[in-house]
Symmetry: C2
Subunit: 392 residues, 2 copies
Amino acid sequence: MIKVPGFAGSGISCGIKKRGKKDLALIFSEYPAKAAGMFTENIVKAPPVLLGMERIKNGLCQAVLVNSGVANAFTGKPGMKAALLTTGCAARELGIDESLVIPSSTGVIGGPLPVEKINKAMPVLVSELREEGLLDAAEAIMTTDAFPKYATTKVGIGGRTGTVCVIGKGAGMIMPNMATMLAYILTDISVPRRTLTKALRNAVNNSFNKIIVDGDTSTNDTVLMLANGKLGNTAIGLTGTNYRKLEQAVTETAAVVAEMIVKDGEGATKTVRIIVKGARSESDAENVARTIGNSLLVKSALYGEDPNWGRIVAAAGRAGVDFNPDRLDLYFGDHKILSNSRQVMDEASALEVMKTPKFSITLDLKTGKKASFVITSDITYDYLKINAHYRT
Amino acid sequence: MIKVPGFAGSGISCGIKKRGKKDLALIFSEYPAKAAGMFTENIVKAPPVLLGMERIKNGLCQAVLVNSGVANAFTGKPGMKAALLTTGCAARELGIDESLVIPSSTGVIGGPLPVEKINKAMPVLVSELREEGLLDAAEAIMTTDAFPKYATTKVGIGGRTGTVCVIGKGAGMIMPNMATMLAYILTDISVPRRTLTKALRNAVNNSFNKIIVDGDTSTNDTVLMLANGKLGNTAIGLTGTNYRKLEQAVTETAAVVAEMIVKDGEGATKTVRIIVKGARSESDAENVARTIGNSLLVKSALYGEDPNWGRIVAAAGRAGVDFNPDRLDLYFGDHKILSNSRQVMDEASALEVMKTPKFSITLDLKTGKKASFVITSDITYDYLKINAHYRT
């Protein structure tokens, strides 16, 4: 169960998805919460994203209305109108200003948002709001996800115990910089806007922005953080112990959900952390890690449990980062596979590592002292099964 | 059959591959030919690539020795020594200077090149050289290729008829900038070095550099062009009618082989030309086309014959190119699917197009007058079957 003081949730079926599956979610804070958001970098931004970017500017949010099944993306002015109509309906039903409602949509790109179905279901959606209802909300935002995704952390702030909860979804179209991924970070800790923005950015960069499923970036990605202040703590500044505790709690909780997203990567059977160290800069390290984590040949080899390190170093070589190809060290888990680019592996040990569902691959470039990582998954028959016929 | 005046070829099994499959090829010119080459941009370059880059500097080549099965990549100094030993053996057997022999290797990265097997087979390889043997060479350079790849064009130059022949291989690890792909362009036309270099670069940029199978770039890519001058024509300059005819012939012949490579893309069932027009620059157009052609979600939809245009525009949106997402036109074959980003499609027609094995998708950005394209394939269960267990 997920509970965050001062927040309520609900999730119901309004008829967008087939077979009565939940497809409409509401997250509500009893007070207007301090709010910050991060949104897709795709230049094709869905109307709900554009509306959310506009509304978040005032720094407050009290309700998040999410539908799954249809992304309301690439729908132009009618799509914006639909986002305005549905959030307007939610605001009236909740008795709050419509500027305090932020929408998200996820699902097929291109179809119109069924405004009538959503608004007709609004009274029920609002009446079902309850503290224990966040799990229903987590279920209602799922698309190809196999399970709902959430995590909660308790954190001591000035003698009181605050809660940080992350609810997320997303299984395909994931890659660094938040592909079709929605995440809502809820906390009762009192956090001023500037602090919230900083903590959110740092947490997202070290969690959701490190995951890769298929290299695509969606039109709808959104991470919102809402802090309703119900805990009554002294407001947290931009630095200091309390700030560090907050950022750590948000990062760790987000990282748990991010890893769930990879684990649930469409059809995935492996969760693999690609660590690149010994780089001249963190961005060099990240570029190499990302190129490896995105390589279809590497992801196929992970699926086949083939310790084909040649594909890993070949991917590293096309990342646009300079290193000496004769000096690489490579590890599968703790097993050293390459030392100064010479194979020193006991292939059986490497194979043992690859047979586990979760492991790390570490590449040491030996050109500097910086490191970074990404979390990737394998690509499987089931990925294709899901994505070849997604709409049928 | 493939025949180019003054060239001979042979292809035999020397025991690198299992079951007596051909794995060693020789292409020989009766005169030292003017030569130019283009090589992988991966910073991890295999020893045969490094040796080829060195030897091509003198502008002449008389023999190309190619093995399949093992890439001799990431093998360090022993790998370079192996390339020197095998090309040295070929040179002695052919009675030519070893600087005139360029090696290529393709196959698994990381294993040592079996020098003894190759050199032991060299007398037979050389004795089998014959004008009709280029097809054997084309077969011996195959790895996961389902069929040998070659094309020939005749071109009139100053009253004589010259031949341009392209022999290629490559089915996985293909993406713009020549992934694990080998191609040898042979002509009897007399072409000075500078002209050869220009024609090769332009032809490759409009053929092999436009194809995508899986977005990976190999350590071994090589395109060599050899012009032995047997036709006896007046040498061709850097401009003028004869130059244009030469460049066109080389480009068209290379494009035929490039398209064969996509068609044979591991497990592929579709060959799709992604055309982007109305761009501000050719590189903008190419970036958008390449991002679409590389999208795993687009490639999955091609496989599933799902006219999911949302994935196409979403991919376009993350290419880093500015355009107005509300003004796009999109076509499947000749059918207009989107007009000013509004769906105007008869989905049944779109589906008809997608059911064919070869078609085009055209995106008009309406921001300028430049265009470019890539050729991509779908990604299928068979791709994974081939790549998950490549080494087993």
